[in-house]
Symmetry: C3
Subunit: 205 residues, 3 copies
């Protein structure tokens, strides 16, 4: 019970963070306040919606728990007023996205595990929950998807989801450990510009 | 019963209108007749399909009622032959899209309300039904999504869906009133070039 | 029983072929090994996943049968190592895509027919199964979707799906005949550059 409360709290937090990242992307595109709400909401609930569709749950999470929708709308409208206070929107967007990535990759795996998914499916669901919202956001805004950027992004989501999937039957601390691992890897990737090797020899370029 | 017949009739009309708008977009891209059918069908049933998936209905509407598919195909093929008669395809496309937007935003809310969705979800479903088909159409054709254009577009869908959701328990005229409101707002936006204020001060630009 | 084994075998083969085509597209974009896996998996299971969602099956096919996911990952990683051996990646990609197109268009119709879908829906499901994976692949990579290319592509998928849907109650050979028809048409389109007539008179251009 307590554990579920913690999970719900983290889930709402991650939703707000991703909604902010969606609204900030709308700010970069100079959209109107409805565009902020639209992108905030799509980014905030897009990943979890796809996860629920693919898991085949009886009812998508925001159908009964409308607080997820209100949080997306509230965070988006708040961003409309607060975004001008930030000097560098793209930097805030980058870090908001990193926090959301860590939280959602693990929570997606949590929900899939609760639903009885095999480990490989749980990892896939975690990665999808964490990346699908940003993917739609970037596709609609015609931006290079952060998903395909050179830095380690999907890798961090894989790490978070896999860590939870592997550890959850051994320790009660699987949730915070997995989130910390995913965030640390993504943060290092941003700060130290870590990359996986690209396909093709340098000589080819 | 009668009400349901009216709703079905309006729904088929909106499907045909959106299919035409999809086929006209294919005409702008100079695609072949199969491209017309493809874009006509995606635009015509895309929004309702996503709505049904998210509502978790037992069976997507066009699975049993294949007349929706035939109407999309028929309207697309008809557009192939008739489009050359129009001087300005983009103008016809704009207005076909406006009619479809008004009809579908309200009908999406109608179906969600019938399904027992909370008001905020019903409004969201209306907006989604009205915009998702065009969104795929524009993304696939690499056009600037009309959804993100400067004029009031999503706002009109929100107005139509919200008006029906609020009024349907008070009056039998909720359906035509909501459609008229959504269409009037969208029409004014097109004619008078109405916009919501954009993010960012003019001085920034 | 035997028939189902054949279908499963062909399905796994088509999945591997499409996963390779996805990984080759990642190679053209010079992505890292995780990008290969991501695009390989999306392309390999994307079409079947949409088909299952729209059919409303109880459980998406790869939820219980995780071998589909492993095959996508294996084929993608293998492509990472083997792609440098090919002189012309784009040519291999083109033909891998043609094989996958023929197999999936027919198999999508097979599954829909087994599920009791009306003929027009079965054809639509076949086309979707065959094209949706490549469509996401190309959209994400910002490539002109092969789907919208001038050559006959969707037409081949329609032919394969329609042939199976029409023939399956008359002959046990519907599966291989339909696959052969779809592949032959697509192969002819590639070799002889077959096209459907485009919209608009030449004089317009």
């Amino acid at each position: 019970m307590l554990m579920n409360d913690v999970i719900t709290g983290v889930d709402l937090l991650a939703t707000a963070v991703f909604a902010i990242s969606g609204a900030l992307a709308a700010a970069q595109g100079r959209h109107d306040v409805l565009g902020f709400i639209l992108f905030g909401t799509i980014t905030g609930i897009g990943g979890g919606t796809l996860r629920d569709l693919l898991l085949g749950v009886d009812s998508i999470f925001w159908f009964t728990r409308t607080e997820y929708l209100w949080i997306c709308m509230g965070a988006s409208v708040a961003t409309w007023f607060l975004a001008p206070l930030f000097d560098s929107i793209s930097k805030v967007l980058l870090w908001a996205d990193a926090v959301g990535l860590a939280l959602f990759s693990v929570l997606g795996a949590v929900k899939a595990v609760q639903f009885g998914a095999p480990p490989i499916v749980a990892v896939g669901m975690g990665v999808m929950t964490a990346t699908f919202g940003s993917m739609i956001r970037d596709t609609l805004l015609n931006k290079e998807p952060v998903l395909l950027g050179p830095e380690i992004y999907v890798t961090a989501a894989v790490l978070g989801a896999a860590a939870y999937t592997l550890l959850h039957s051994y320790t009660d601390w699987a949730l915070p450990i997995a989130i910390a691992l995913a965030f640390t890897l993504r943060a290092c990737a941003i700060v130290f510009d870590l990359r996986l090797p690209k396909y093709g020899k340098p000589a080819d370029e």
